[in-house]
Symmetry: C2
Subunit: 424 residues, 2 copies
């Protein structure tokens, strides 16, 4: 249902060019890159290059630990205000700034995430070596926010008009236990709920790939409890560790498809107090993922059946006189799987934009903010915002701000976004 | 070999009383309790009762965390010095004070342990409610050390002479990971190595039981290592958690005898860093115990076979391309099992001493300092030092210093020790 307005727009285009069955994305992109306003815009990428680098440094150095993005959000809103927009911070903590289009209709969102994976107290000072910048979070996703600002600067410099409104978003909670909360709010509760027709996430690096599939994930913390007791005196009673072990063993017997890729991991474990005590409580963190929502649901169902079976088996085989084993399942992550149709406009526009720069882009699957719109059937892709970088999520994280490849990437991003938003 | 001197002494007694096949323990104990010096000694228990209570309080309030018994050891040595003995602190930290006998020969040891289970910083202030004393460690084994002092006071008051030397010991490392290191040192490395013929441990409470069997234990920390990796990207590689789970599952399938009681426990577990990572390392603490050294060895052997089997199974079933699973077994506890022959002099003397007070004493099995001599074939028993107490190892630990039952218990202890040491 959410895709209807976009289809309506496509039919309108068809009506305007009756000889074509559908608009040719290469043609659309070709017209955009040839336009004077686009050319003026991309000239600004060049002249503003140093500003872009300084924005990356400034943003990176405002720490944004998980669930603590507020300081960076305020600073980012101020940066948007300086660019002539009227940003607001929504109830979830997302920064939203609308750049009006010429026509009513669905909104195009361009988002980068505010949060990093690094905890409070991490030294986020940026070190420079030539064009390389090094700091925790510098690439993921500080440079994404700076690239978003550079796109606005360029559009302003080129006096670029779009048919659709473009909503620029700095969102919270993309990483880990943040569980995509910012974008989830945007699509399911915020003021733009039901009004977004296209979604771009600027996340990650690389000049030859984009993300058109969203790996879904389900994560649980399972706590096994029992009576506990003295290792010698109480021997023979149920042990929650045995139920945990059977759960892991059961999980690792499951067969999952290689395609769509589906995975599981028993990742973190803990519990027990002393070597001479049968533990009263042990716990386990489990991660399950799939590129397919159906396969993920199937895997989750199997896992949720294994836990009570393991508990029942332990309660059946040892004494429950002082108490039984129980298991408590707490969801700690839920990212919906999804994908954007390879023939969707947004994908074809991006392919055409890469192609205009001589690049055959590869389509991949990953877990990003785009998972949310993909799972809702709203066309979404995640594109890189930096030509080269690495070691994301590690203290050695780095990016390369070398001018030529980054100008190229920005040109591709702008062409794709303008094709999706339409130029009047 | 270590028991020969004691047997020689027994034969000497037989020679002195040719009508008997062996000395009757009741007769021996009867003669002791009727002796003027014993009667003078037990009168001191009565007159010194308040001093005993104050000694318990003073000792309890000198914290003695695991591996940090030094302050208490020094204070205890000073208390022994005030009683006319010449204490020394050995290389391991044990306090040793010899009370000379009238004849050369094997030494009788009377020991209580200095250490408590409570960590540094625990409030060890004693609270009093009538005759009840409450504090962490008050009963286990602070009151044992005070009772040891009361025995010396009484022997001094009664001018009691013994044939054998009596070595009074305040030993370190009885609890948990201390792993009986104090008494182990005494029997295997210290200056009295090879010279101890009889061992008494004053540990625990109760007026109707004593410990003649030593539960052995073997404890391991098993660390499972693997390559680790991204939960989605590296799916399919070996997971050390799966090997750990199979180890626990394998252990909990083992059948062990109810008699001699043999037990195991998978007690503490940990490892992994993030829900979205296949862990590179997980670990498990396992406790195995038996009243029988042979059964304990059998259980340990089975466990040590389960670990590599679990590792091999995991390496066989998933990819080892980035690295294999390995397991490292670190022993973290080794208490030998053992028992003292029910017909050994020491057991029969104790039974006779209880009997002289109208008590039919029960014989039990436990893990105490006596495990070490028992495992070496040296007669040893562990006796209570307080008539009533409870909640040992918990912050609510308590003892009751009520006079009558505690005088009775001290009379039993003194009669047993004097019977074992012999009176000239």
């Amino acid at each position: 249902m959410k895709r209807l307005p976009r289809l309506a727009a496509a039919f309108a285009l068809v009506a305007a060019a009756p000889a074509l069955a559908a608009p040719n994305p290469d043609t659309t992109v070709g017209q955009i890159v040839a336009s004077p306003s686009y050319r003026a815009a991309v000239a600004a990428f060049d002249s503003d290059h140093d500003q872009w680098v300084e924005d990356i440094v400034a943003i990176t150095q405002i720490a944004a630990p998980p669930f603590k993005e507020e300081a960076r959000a305020k600073a980012f809103a101020e940066m948007l205000r300086k660019r002539g927009l009227d940003p607001k911070i929504d109830e979830e903590g997302n920064v939203l700034a609308l750049r009006k289009g010429t026509q009513p209709g669905p909104v195009v969102v361009v988002a980068a995430h505010l949060d990093t994976v690094f905890p409070e107290g991490t030294d986020v000072t940026v070190r420079r070596e030539g064009t390389k910048l090094m700091a925790p979070g510098v690439g993921d996703d500080s440079a994404g926010l700076a690239t978003l600002l550079a796109l606005i600067d360029a559009m302003n410099a080129g006096k670029v008009q779009t048919r659709s409104d473009i909503l620029f978003v700095g969102d919270v909670g993309e990483e880990g236990l943040g569980d995509l909360r910012g974008v989830r709010h945007l699509f399911t509760k915020g003021e733009y709920k039901g009004r977004i027709g296209t979604f771009f996430s600027l996340d990650g690096g690389g000049l030859d790939s984009m993300t058109t599939g969203g790996t879904g994930s389900k994560r649980y913390r399972v706590t096994f409890k029992g009576p506990g007791g003295h290792s010698y005196g109480a021997f023979g009673i149920v042990n929650p560790m045995a139920a945990l072990a059977q759960t892991v063993t059961g999980l690792y017997k499951l067969k999952v498809p290689a395609n769509p890729k589906t995975t599981y991991s028993a990742s973190v474990v803990g519990g027990g107090t002393s070597v001479n005590a049968i533990p009263a409580e042990v716990w386990l963190q489990v991660d399950m993922r799939s590129a397919s929502a159906a396969e993920l649901a199937k895997l989750e169902k199997q896992f949720l059946a294994i836990v009570p079976k393991a508990v029942a088996a332990e309660n059946a085989v040892r004494s429950t006189k002082p108490g039984k084993i129980s298991a408590e399942l707490k969801p700690i992550g839920d990212r919906p799987a999804g994908h954007t149709d390879p023939n969707a406009d947004i994908v074809r526009f991006a392919e055409a934009a890469f192609h205009s720069e001589g690049i055959n882009v590869k389509k991949g699957t990953s877990s990003t903010d785009s998972n949310i719109p993909m799972s809702l059937g709203i066309p979404a892709i995640t594109m890189g915002h930096i030509a080269e970088g690495g070691r994301a999520h590690s203290p050695d994280e780095w990016i390369d701000t070398a001018k030529a490849p980054n100008l190229k990437l920005k040109r591709i991003l702008l062409a794709t976004i303008l094709a999706a938003a339409g130029m009047p």
